[in-house]
């Protein structure tokens, strides 16, 4: 036998496929991965410390910068947490607008996940198609919130402004096109034999392991566990909508990928229902200029973000600024499972696994 040696390969922090500043140290035996060590913190901004120096309203735009690909979801989570803390009732119309914006964000985030997986696996054209479709959502964000990527549109107590007239036709045509988009992604990538071979059986995440490691979101559902906070613990008005949870069977990369594509379709269904049921009325509750929750009050509010369970733990000391704010970032906790699913695979599987776990480093590093 030839003597072999173990060597390390540093994937990142500057690498085409790490979706931001992620540093993965791969300990390799030839092409086989022995272990993977994840190093984080390259985009750490100490958001939790910043929050302690800002008023409740001032922190809203910061939350958009956590998961910048699904910009409305972290904002929604934070605003709902503060509303829970203060007992603010949000007007009906605002709730519906919020649901539409949140689901649009989820679609946008999944489209990034899909197209980024495409480029990571070498299907450059897949990236372009995903980005092309996402552009329409960005246009909708621009017309409602004024910004394409980080529109701080959802506010404590409602939304910043009523939807413009072009909004409903634009969303309707987008929702109509969703089946075509899904068909295209599936046709170009999922059905492709090379694609399937690269993903099938790669990075298998058993359901028990997933729960132990606190994995949530599409990654957990791909392992076959029907756990979605929109159904398990409906926040806002999610209990009014009828939608399915796409589930995986094997818990491998292909399942994670497929679940994301199918979730786009389900989000489309929710938006359709919300558009139909949206009432007229106020878009923002009467919120005092200075928000001062009772001292000692605390809240843990969690929503189903595009990446998983996004939780905000806020402790108030009676002042206008939070005493302590903690973000339970789904990407941070989902990434923990990367070494588990990478072990024993070949080098290229690291790329596949990072892509299908879909971490967003702005959120995981905070």
């Amino acid at each position: 036998m030839l003597e072999t040696d173990i060597y390390t390969v540093n994937v990142g922090p500057i690498h085409p496929s790490t979706h931001g500043g992620l540093h993965v140290e791969a300990i390799m035996d030839g092409e086989i991965i022995q272990d993977v060590v994840v190093h984080l913190g390259y985009v750490h901004r100490s958001v939790e410390k910043i929050a302690e120096g800002k008023t409740y309203q001032q922190f809203v735009p910061y939350t958009a910068r956590l998961d910048y690909l699904a910009t409305n979801l972290p904002v929604l989570g934070y605003c709902q947490a503060v509303e829970k803390l203060l007992g603010i009732e949000v007007p009906e119309r605002a709730e519906y607008i919020r649901v539409i914006m949140a689901e649009l964000s989820r679609i946008a985030s999944h489209q990034i996940a899909i197209s980024a997986t495409g480029i990571d696996l070498g299907a450059t054209t897949g990236l372009m198609y995903g980005m092309r479709d996402r552009e329409r959502i960005m246009n909708i964000f621009e017309m409602t919130g004024g910004q394409r990527l980080l529109s701080s549109y959802i506010r404590i107590g409602g939304v910043a402004a009523d939807i413009p007239d072009e909004f409903i036709p634009a969303v309707k045509s987008l929702v109509q096109d969703i089946p075509r988009m899904m068909e295209e992604y599936n046709g170009l990538m999922t059905g492709n034999e090379i694609w399937a071979a690269r993903m099938e059986g790669v990075g298998i995440l058993a359901p028990e392991t997933a729960i132990q490691y606190g994995v949530t979101g599409p990654n957990l559902r791909a392992s076959g566990i029907a756990y979605d906070l929109r159904k398990a613990e409906p926040y806002g008005i999610y209990d009014r909508f009828d939608f399915d949870l796409p589930l995986g069977k094997r818990g491998d990369s292909l399942d994670r990928w497929q679940v994301r594509i199918d979730e786009i379709g389900q989000s489309g269904r929710i938006i359709e229902q919300a558009l139909k049921a949206m009432p007229e009325g106020e878009i923002k509750a009467k919120v005092p200029k200075v928000l001062k929750p009772a001292a000692g009050k605390e809240v843990y509010h969690r929503i189903e973000s595009a990446k998983g369970e996004l939780g905000y733990y806020i402790v108030s000391d009676g002042s206008s600024k939070p005493y302590r704010l903690h973000v339970r970032a789904p990407s941070f906790i989902n990434l923990m499972v990367l070494p588990v699913i990478c072990r024993g695979g070949v080098f290229q599987d690291i790329i596949t696994n990072i892509a299908t776990l879909d971490p967003i480093l702005g959120e995981s590093d905070r």
């Binding site: 984080l40 913190g41 750490h44 100490s46 939790e48 410390k49 120096g53 829970k84 729960i211 132990q212 490691y213 606190g214 994995v215 566990i225 029907a226 756990y227 398990a232 613990e233 009050k297 605390e298 809240v299 843990y300 969690r302 369970e309 939780g311 733990y313 402790v315 005493y323 302590r324 903690h326 339970r328 941070f332 906790i333 990434l335 923990m336 590093d365 905070r366």
Partner: protein, 150 residues
């Protein structure tokens, strides 16, 4: 396994742990205040006997003299929830690690160590996770002052 009931669980836990556990509740959660020495026993019971298999959130709050550790536990798929709190003194900020019960505590405890400076006994790899290794201080402590912009 019996049907889950919060009251019965509290009774049983109080019977088991005596005055080490104190219960309370706020608007959203049933809170179990636990003596840090009995933390692992309580958590083990919660996980194995009452089905709280999902450690959703693990964090800490600085209350001056003491640090409070906060654990939000959920069960999948029943979705029962309980909040566990424990306090450690600032001078001796040390606590048992929960990594053997929930592997998800790994990075979350590292984050608490990193940002708040609470040490976890039994954690195999307690190093900073978000800040660089040579960083001094723990920024989420209240006595850590932020440097402003010039």
């Amino acid at each position: 396994m019996q049907e889950f009931s919060l009251e019965r669980m509290i009774q049983e836990l109080e019977g088991l742990l005596g005055d080490k556990v104190r219960t309370g509740s706020d608007q959203f959660f049933t809170v179990l205040y636990i003596d840090p020495a009995a933390l692992t026993i309580l958590m083990g019971k919660l996980r194995d006997e009452y089905g709280f298999n999902h450690l959703a959130n693990l964090t800490s709050v600085d209350y001056g003299e003491e640090f409070e550790m906060v654990y939000h536990l959920y069960s999948i798929p029943d979705n029962n929830k309980v909040l566990v709190k424990t306090r450690v003194p600032r001078t001796l900020a040390e606590l048992d690690s929960l990594i053997s019960l929930w592997p998800t505590a790994d990075w979350q405890e590292r984050e608490v160590y990193d940002l708040m400076g609470i040490k976890f006994k039994g954690h195999p790899n307690l190093v900073r996770v978000l800040l660089p290794e040579d960083f001094e201080g723990h920024p989420l402590r209240k006595d850590y002052l932020m440097g402003g912009r010039k």
